[in-house]
């Protein structure tokens, strides 16, 4: 870790704003963003578990928040982030084997990742709602 405080007025390399947005580039950014979102979202999962261990009163309090429209919105986003990050991770595991760098294939995997994350998220929620008798 070099001490970056010694940095002087050196020219900067081209940054995000310079490039035309591309799908693979957006997917890379979203992969990191969903990872960071899941990092803080884990706090909610642990909160739910601690409330469950703490007893019925705490549990129903957290369940009410999770079941509100805002709670469901956050949970829906959390589900999508989880699925998207998992599928993105699978792409990275393929690349780790040295395969899948063909440009057309990369583009195709990115689209599959995006579409798959939406479809799987919706399917999970449909199963959830039908399990609760909401469908």
């Amino acid at each position: 870790m070099a001490d970056s405080n010694t940095r002087t007025q050196r020219p900067l390399s081209p940054h995000l704003q310079i490039y035309r947005p591309m799908l693979t580039m957006m997917m890379s950014i979203v992969h990191r963003a969903t990872g960071a979102a899941l990092y803080f979202g884990t706090l909610l999962v642990i909160w739910w578990l601690v409330a469950l261990a703490a007893g019925p009163d705490h549990f129903s309090y957290v369940q009410d928040i999770a079941g509100s429209w805002f709670g469901r919105l956050v949970l829906f986003g959390y589900t999508w982030a989880l699925v998207h990050h998992a599928l993105g991770g699978l792409r990275h595991l393929v690349w780790d084997t040295g395969r899948g760098f063909d440009l057309e294939l990369v583009e195709w995997m990115a689209r599959l990742n995006l579409a798959g994350s939406v479809v799987i998220t919706v399917v999970i929620w449909l199963i959830g709602y039908s399990a609760m008798g909401g469908l």
């Binding site: 970056s4 960071a36 990092y39 578990l49 261990a53 019925p56 549990f59 999970i124 399990a131």
Partner: protein, 126 residues
């Protein structure tokens, strides 16, 4: 011509002195997370609409408690590794970087222990 010493080449640890260990652990936990997360989501969905007693019985049962302990270990370690990379990429001030890295360690440990303790309490009874 390389200026690296033969010993440095053999060790292959690079300037961070840890080699590919961070990368490798990120991948190990990533692979573990895939089946664990699928089961985790399935358990959560199957518990939707349950009351405190039924959810406690479900998550406290040995197989599911073990699954939850595994996913907490793997996922928390994975997110700790990932956040460290994000911090190293974006936080450049030396002091703030160390504060963030410490915060990341403490956050992961507190989250992981709180989750694990809750699972054990549900499983062993209050």
């Amino acid at each position: 011509m390389s200026l690296r010493t033969p010993m440095s080449k053999v060790r292959g640890l690079g300037s961070a002195k840890s080699g590919a260990e961070h990368f490798w652990r990120q991948r190990v936990t990533a692979i573990a997370n895939i089946p664990l997360m699928i089961l985790f989501v399935a358990v959560l969905v199957s518990n939707l609409g349950g009351n405190h007693a039924s959810v406690t019985a479900s998550i406290g049962s040995p197989m599911i408690a073990i699954l939850f302990l595994l996913i907490i270990c793997s996922a928390v370690y994975h997110m700790y590794l990932g956040m460290q990379v994000i911090i190293e990429d974006y936080v450049h001030g030396e002091g703030l970087k160390i504060v963030c890295i410490l915060g990341n360690i403490f956050f992961a440990v507190v989250i992981g222990l709180a989750g694990a303790f809750s699972i054990l309490k549900l499983s062993f009874g209050s």
